[in-house]
Amino acid sequence: MRAVSYYPGCSLHGAAREYGDSTTAVCQALDVDLQELADWTCCGASSGHSLSRTLGLALAARNLALAEGTGHELVAPCAACYHRLKVAKKESASSVTVLHLLDLLADDETLAQIRESIQRPLEGLKAVCYYGCLLVRPPDVTGVADYEDPQSMDRVIAAIGAEVRPWSFKTDCCGGGIAPARPAVARRLSSRLAAMAQEAGADCIVTACPMCQTNLDTGQQEGRDLPVLYFTELLAYAMGLEGTEAWWSRHMVDPAPILDRAGIS
């Protein structure tokens, strides 16, 4: 069993609880021991560093210091938290290794493990993988080499039997960061992404970021109805894990109909 420190961040305990719950379920099934950092606090994304350089770094660095004490790698599933932790690491020369959850699950060994644990292969499901901004950019912070055409999520989604559709919008901004304050601007960006995903032949958009998921799920034009799922939700569903019904009920666009059609039909 691989033990790692786990930084859920505020969203995974709140609006993105289904991302947190599916992360926990998938990791448990894959023998990854997620040890939640005791007394973790908000990383400050994206308001801390917008208003104060000192506070922006300090809020994230406090969590790095907690993780240092554990001696484990630090895993963050939220792209925004991951990004702030990486920035703080770069600025503070912390010894902690910061990983996004995809870094942990998309290596060959884990992918083989995922393939072996599939109960409901998602054959017939067409998906586009949407990475957004902060998982990949800027590369001198994230260390991601394929930042214009990332592959880690594609590999995970292909491993559970879905058809990953090629598209050119994997890392285009959805506007999630300014959605609460400037909803019209965010909706212009998110509705374009949803339209492009449909043009690419996708039945759903798969994400790894709570801001992207919320923004894309709520920001579509009436009638487009493209489900937006966390990659961990699809993993858990394919692996036959418990809890998926409760997660679907928290989505604006219900993913159940497209999943019912996939694989088992």
Partner: protein, 187 residues
């Protein structure tokens, strides 16, 4: 394509040094190729485009852009920084301008975005972790948010996405100390 030039060397000119630390981000190396603006997802909503901001900061005129709406509309997507052929950290220059405007108490060119950030930090300060429902209430009070935003809040509440109960208070003493240390910034 390298896309990621060496930024370990200080920029040649330091006209932008009048904003502390901003000179190191390289705006004075900008030769106005417009690549940052071409790839910017929100350029059409901005009053000054990113390449114009870089030109002004590079010329030491950052005071002129502190009141712009553009700096607050920037989503921080990092596309400009990633693609700049001269290694200018465009997104960080814009971020430094926001910090500078906030510290100087300059009326934000987009008051809704600035109000959201302030409401967010008030939420962090109160509990160490963000309580989204309280954040939205704080923001609505600060910004007199348009009904559209409120409708979304109601939709999310109905879906059970916004927890009624706040998270437990975590390390609030320590967090308050961090806010104290940053005092003078970001009010």
């Amino acid at each position: 394509m390298t896309g990621n030039p060496d930024r370990s060397q200080p920029p040649l000119s330091s006209a932008a040094d009048s904003v502390p630390g901003i000179g190191a981000l390289g705006a004075s190396l900008c030769f106005s190729c417009h690549k940052c603006s071409s790839g910017c997802p929100v350029v059409e909503d901005m009053d000054i485009a990113p390449h114009q901001i870089m030109a002004m900061v590079g010329a030491g005129l950052e005071g002129e852009v502190l009141g712009s709406s553009a700096i607050w509309l920037c989503t921080g997507c990092q596309t400009c920084t990633t693609r700049c052929p001269n290694g200018v950290d465009v997104a960080s220059v814009i971020e430094a301008l926001k910090q500078q405007a906030a510290a100087a108490g300059i009326r934000a060119g987009d008051r809704r975005v600035a109000a959201f950030h302030r409401a967010f930090l008030a939420s962090v300060r109160a509990r160490g972790r963000v309580h989204e429902l309280a954040l939205m209430a704080r923001y609505a009070a600060k910004a007199r948010r348009p009904p559209e935003g409120l409708r979304l809040g109601v939709k999310m509440l109905r879906k059970g996405k916004l927890s009624l109960l706040p998270p437990r208070k975590t390390a609030t003493q320590e967090i308050r100390q961090l806010f104290e240390e940053a005092k003078g910034e970001g009010r």
